[in-house]
């Protein structure tokens, strides 16, 4: 396997793990970890593809912004998680379902 293929496969793997985490873990924190994995998978793609289009540096720039945005996301998300914890005394997503049809 070429390096590129390895990068891409790993990225795909991380992406799937992220999806798996978001879908299957009861704990909101774990779901957020899954989202981090997804973002990292994307970043890995950006960086790997950037080696292919080496005349520019767009991929790395994108990854850079994503890192920043991920930080912001995590900040907001954990603020909300803490709020939920205060109200519900749990962060298990499947127990928080008062809003429904």
């Amino acid at each position: 396997m070429s390096a590129m293929e390895l990068y891409l496969t790993l990225s795909a793997f991380l992406f799937c793990l992220g999806v798996f985490l978001v879908v299957t873990r009861r704990n909101a924190v774990m779901a957020l970890l899954g989202i981090e994995l997804i973002l990292n998978a994307a970043n890995l793609n950006f960086v790997a593809f950037n080696t292919k289009y080496a005349h520019g540096i767009d991929g790395q720039m994108a990854a850079l912004f994503v890192i920043v945005l991920a930080a912001a996301e995590v900040a907001v998300a954990f603020a909300i998680v803490l709020n939920v914890y205060q109200r519900y005394k749990t962060v298990n997503i499947d127990e928080i379902d008062t809003l429904k049809d």
Binding site: A3, M4, V19, N40, V76, I80
Partner: protein, 175 residues
Amino acid sequence: MTMTNILFHAFILLTAGAGFVLAISRNIVYAAFLLFVVLLGVAGLYIFAGAEFLAVSQVIVYVGGTLIVVIFGVMLTAKMREMKPQTDFVNLVPGAMLAAAIFMALLFVIRESGVLSSPGNSAAIASDNVHRVGVATLTDYLLPFELVSILLLTVLIGAAYLSRKTKIEKEEQAT
């Protein structure tokens, strides 16, 4: 197989393995630390792809900032008095099947889309990496760069507000 190559494969394996264990781990604290390993592994892989500046940023921002928040979150929400801050699964089977299906689809894309036809050139991009990132930040990506700063400001205000205790909450806690 050169040393670099071996190291590269090792990083790949480390990242993938840590990720996998993270995914199936029941202990949230372990999971948080495993994420740390994954992020480090990814940072290492950035270096192999010629993105030194990015690797450093990853370590500083992600590992240094984001992960701290995560761990705070874990500790604040997990019931620390119990010995095992564990969590379990829902929708395990459909979730796993779905993830597998997506993986297959992505493998299909990797194989079929022709992105593998031309090999990457990590050396070319690695040269004066920091310079190029700097120039790009202030030219091509000037606007996003400025906007992200506003975003961070807004998010800061919002997150701070959300985490702050209000009067009533304090009263509630007092009673």
